[in-house]
Amino acid sequence: MTTAADDLILGLIRIVDLPGLTAAAGQPLAAEDIEAVVREADRFAREAIAPGWQTADRAGARLENGLVRAPEHYLPLYGQWVEGGWQGLAAPEAHGGQGLPHALWSAVLELCSAADMSFTLCPLLTAGAVELLAHHATPDQAERWLPELVAGRWTGTMCLTEPQAGSDLSRLRARAEPAPDGSWRLFGQKIFISWGEHDLTENTLHLVLARLPGAEAGSRGISLFAAPRLLPDGRRNAVSCGGLEHKMGIHGSPTCIMLFDGAEAELIGAPHRGLQAMFAMMNAARLAVGVQGVGQGARALAMAETFAATREQGGKTIDQYPDVARMLAEMRATTLAGRLLALEAAASLDRARLLKSPEAEARLALLTPIVKAWCTDRGVEAASLGVQVHGGMGFCEDAGAAQILRDARIAPIYEGTNGIQALDLVTRKLPRDGGALLRTLLAEAVLVAPAIGQAAATVEQAIPAMLGAGGPVGASRFLDACGWVLGAAMVARAAAADPAHAATRDIFLRRLLPRAIAAAEEAMAG
């Protein structure tokens, strides 16, 4: 049986061909180096991050006198994270990063998210902030903030959501007022801000969406600001945590109400163009949240496999019963598919950046909502199957299977609900070329494995309906159908690269792929 790290190494080297991609870009990264990085990240995740996972869930983040305390062991653990230099993996070398491919970061993120999703959410957001600032900050802003964020000495947040503005950001009300020195003062309330306040680092840079005076209503009147928790002279900025949410899962990650009461801030990018700039962070974060889904599936699978191999009923271990084997096989298949699909999307990002390929850019745009939604839905399903494999133990907290399900459940909700992802696919991405690129991806899938033919054809049939009035009704099921087909192709490619995956491919194509047909038909049914 291969481990998550084995599969990631296979995926990076043999399937998305990172050595070839980086060599073509003149920054060659050898297979051995990819393996060395993934192996060490795996060791760090399993030995340093994973052990405190349940303790963090039980202790949770706490609010004391306006200050948020992360679970106790997160502080030394975060220190190890920073010391390991992991935060800067894909960050620009000019700002102290390693400038390595995003696909490699995606692999590291999966391993760490599997070890503790709450903990890893913090570096995940910081990486998103780095991505945003690297593209939209002025050289002066970049110089002041990026080295701190890239090293992990500061963390970054994304402050979008408000009580009346969730999926619909055009309704947001937070406002910015000009200060005499040319900077801005932020006023308003943000809710659900992950890692908005904490004690892991001295400073946090909040990236905040707000309106300039006189800005037009709707999404064209939104600007982006950066407000540090601590100001350069050491004073605390006028931004504080007004409360923590009590949640179903990810208890270790503080979900904060953030109050901006005249907080000193700087404008990032052009006025009224905030949403476009924020999309740089959101797209990175959407891929990363898809990866969280994969990580939760992987953790659920690993635990269920161990449990099923030792639990005896009726004179044999339960993994020998066809129904338990079926559950394990499904978890294995969807986790592998999601893992490789996420790597494929991240490698498209690398190809777009390193080789300046517009085609890769378009693939990334199309794959991002699919990775976010399909991988997180599969993560929840795998976690639920994991509970089922454990029987009654699964429903009790000690075994840990229940925590995976509770943690995994947020991923289809935040970073744009999966419903919003489906609309993005159907009403934004598909119309760009009338579905041409998606047809290409479907054809490529069939070339990898002819057995995908019927499913791909049914999905293709649904494209016109999705481009028409049926789009908003069928979007979610359509996205799901796309995920099953593209996932099947990824697993088939894995089996071609390593026969160890042949059984998983066969199970995927025979048992799971028909779900693509059912989903596509449901999408067309209107």
């Binding site: 050898a30 051995e32 060395a36 990085v37 060490e40 390991g84 230099g85 992991w86 390595l100």
Partner: protein, 249 residues
């Protein structure tokens, strides 16, 4: 002072070891391989000595198939400066390893050799002692604390009865026990830097050593399976079983 740290490629400690079906050894094909954990401790100790300014250069040596370069890279990522790979396929016995290390010592003249007390594959616990004998150097085996002052090393050793402190003159051979330190995780920047550090590749013949094994392995087999326990109903039954079945009282 130069430090020499031998690192061995072994089956990863997490892997459940299986005997080859023909009984000739343990299965290593398609099995995850790692650096011997005791060697990791040795590398960590060497890196700490370098950080304290006591050592100036750390050379990691591995003896075995070409794939051992991976373990040398791990040592380089932890902080070793360069590597030497002595390529030899098949079984390499402790005495051969000791002879090869002796030849490398002659080339490099390190002030100290720090190595694992044993490798977790065959648990021989022999190479360090053999090397000390071949060199005529002092040895501090099973070290749980190492202090270097001037040309002497103070080693606290873990022995059956407790702890023993020995003072050695340098150069010397130290073998690391479990509690000597807790090895660090390699940082990402150091993993990337390790790619550029040099590894020299040699053959045993280059060092004038004949690697032919002197021992013949007749058979490798799994230890007998432990029998299931049994519940007894009373103390009397327990005593009866101990006396008449187990015959231990």
């Amino acid at each position: 002072m130069k430090l020499l740290v031998p690192v061995k490629r072994v089956v990863d400690y997490n892997v459940k070891v299986r005997v080859k079906s023909d009984g000739s050894g343990v299965e290593t094909a398609n099995v995850k391989m790692s650096m011997n954990p005791f060697d990791e401790i040795a590398v960590e100790e060497a890196v700490r000595l370098k950080e304290k300014g006591i050592a100036t250069e750390i050379i990691a040596v591995s003896i075995g198939p070409a794939a051992c370069a991976e373990q040398i890279r791990t040592a380089l990522a932890m902080g070793a400066d360069r590597g030497i790979l002595v390529e030899q396929d098949g079984v390499v016995e402790p005495l051969t390893v000791a002879k090869l290390l002796k030849a490398i010592i002659a080339k490099e003249s390190p002030g100290l050799v720090i190595m694992g007390k044993q490798a977790i594959d065959d648990d021989m616990n022999a190479t360090g002692q053999m090397l000390a004998a071949l060199m005529g150097w002092s040895q501090g085996t099973f070290a749980s604390k190492l202090t270097i002052e001037g040309d002497r090393a103070t080693v606290i050793r873990e022995i059956d009865g407790g702890l023993e402190t020995v003072s050695l003159s340098l150069p010397a051979i130290i073998t690391a026990d479990l509690r000597l330190n807790e090895p660090r995780y390699a940082s990402l920047p150091n993993i990337m830097k390790a790619r550029k550090k040099p590894i020299e590749t040699l053959k045993p013949a280059d060092l004038g050593v004949d690697p032919t094994p002197r021992l013949t392995v007749l058979k490798v087999e799994e230890p007998p399976k432990r029998q299931a326990g049994r519940k007894v109903a009373s103390v009397a039954e327990l005593v009866d079983k101990l006396r008449n079945e187990a015959k231990v009282i």
